[in-house]
């Protein structure tokens, strides 16, 4: 089957091609969302290996059930919903409620702690700007890492992924009021943590 370009093709249309069994359509969906999904999961579990395993599990689950996708919803919302469920389930199993910015809580060696510590990169700036940006970015990452996982998911979906409150409520399977409360509290805590860090 010839490869086709999906540059101007919507998610819904790519999903239709995937439902027909086209491998290039599956690859396109992975290409579009592997980084956002991996980033969301990584910021919640703070461990590269675990984040990759959970992201992989998310895509396998979603793509193996692609026939169940309902086009009236955004594909990305469905994908993030599965990613959030899988990550929250993992955190509940591991009872990891808080994470250390110095590394994952289950890091037993210094090397492992370094590997799981928060690092932030950016590009296209002067060395000074890059340093400032890295410092600010690292501060934000540190502050996010101190939030409860539920707050983390909501604040990332709201401010990183630009989802509406309604969409976030659908993704995290919580009432709209609860989502608004979580985001309000997360903002307060971020303000407080960033004030402490500065």
């Amino acid at each position: 089957m010839p490869q086709r370009s999906y540059n101007d093709v919507s998610d819904q249309q790519v999903v239709v091609f995937a439902q027909e069994g086209r491998e290039d359509a599956y690859r396109e969906l992975i290409k579009r969302y592997e980084r956002p999904v991996f980033s969301l999961i990584y910021r919640m579990v703070r461990d590269n290996e675990t984040a990759e395993d959970l992201a992989q599990e998310t895509f396998i689950k979603v793509l193996n059930n692609i026939d169940r996708y309902r086009p009236e919803f955004k594909f990305s919302s469905w994908l993030f919903k599965i990613a959030n469920n899988i990550t929250i389930d993992h955190l509940r199993r591991r009872q990891v409620d808080t994470v250390s910015i110095e590394g994952a809580p289950d890091a037993v060696t210094a090397e492992r702690a370094r590997a799981t510590a928060v690092t932030v990169t950016s590009g296209g700036e002067s060395p000074l700007e890059e340093l400032e940006s890295r410092e600010l970015g690292a501060s934000i990452e540190k502050a996010i890492a101190r939030l409860r996982p539920e707050y983390r998911a909501c604040i990332i979906l709201r401010h990183v992924e630009d989802y509406s409150y309604d969409e976030i409520a659908e993704i995290v399977k919580l009432p709209l009021g609860t989502v608004k409360t979580y985001i309000h509290r997360a903002r307060q805590e971020l303000r407080q943590y960033l004030g402490d860090l500065r």
């Binding site: 069994g21 491998e23 599956y26 690859r27 992975i30 290409k31 592997e34 980084r35 956002p36 991996f38 980033s39 990584y42 984040a51 990759e52 992201a55 992989q56 895509f59 396998i60 793509l63 193996n64 932030v120 990169t121 950016s122 940006s133 600010l136 970015g137 501060s139 934000i140 990452e141 604040i155 990332i156 709201r158 401010h159 990183v160 630009d162 509406s164 903002r187 971020l190 303000r191 960033l194």
Partner: protein
């Protein structure tokens, strides 16, 4: 861009959140996911079954596909061909002429009986004209077949005769 629904002091934090970079999983992430998509894997297995003989040449690792059951017509054809080969070999190398003659006679009688019954049934179902047309074709095929047989037997006899003459002369 989302609408501002927060205090002014959160604006710089919101801007920083929006600037957070995406992180990438490992390079073979997509391949690992694809390798576990059931539908794609089952689609990949199908051509392997079709190329069973090729896989045998390539080491036999994929040659696990079950054989298809042989049809009755195919089995009958193979049996007839086998018997014909055996009879030919017996006739050529062991000179079992009597046995061959008996087998040939029996086969001929059997063929004639089938042909007679078939013609009767055929004329009832297909009509006399169609059967006549088919019989004409069948006679042509029979003549061709007999020509081939006569040619083969005659050629073989000529070779044997020539060999005998050469042997006598040499003696």
């Amino acid at each position: 861009m989302i609408e501002h629904d927060f205090d002014e002091d959160f604006v710089p934090i919101a801007a920083e959140l929006q600037r957070l970079p995406y992180m990438s999983p490992s390079r073979d992430f997509a391949d690992r996911v694809i390798s576990r998509i059931d539908r794609l894997q089952s689609a990949r297995v199908a051509p392997v079954v079709a190329s069973r003989h090729l896989e045998l040449h390539q080491g036999g690792q994929q040659a696990v596909a079950p054989r298809r059951p042989m049809s009755v017509a195919r089995a009958t054809g193979k049996a007839v061909a086998g018997v014909a080969l055996l009879a030919t070999a017996a006739f050529l190398f062991f000179e079992v002429d009597i046995l061959t003659a008996i087998l040939s006679g029996a086969a001929a009688q059997y063929s004639l009986a089938i042909a007679a019954v078939g013609a009767q049934v055929g004329s009832m179902v297909l009509g006399a004209e169609t059967i006549a047309y088919l019989q004409a074709g069948a006679i042509q095929a029979l003549v061709l077949y007999l020509t081939l047989v006569v040619g083969l037997v005659g050629g073989y006899s000529a070779i044997r005769t020539a060999a005998h003459i050469a042997k006598r002369k040499a003696a």
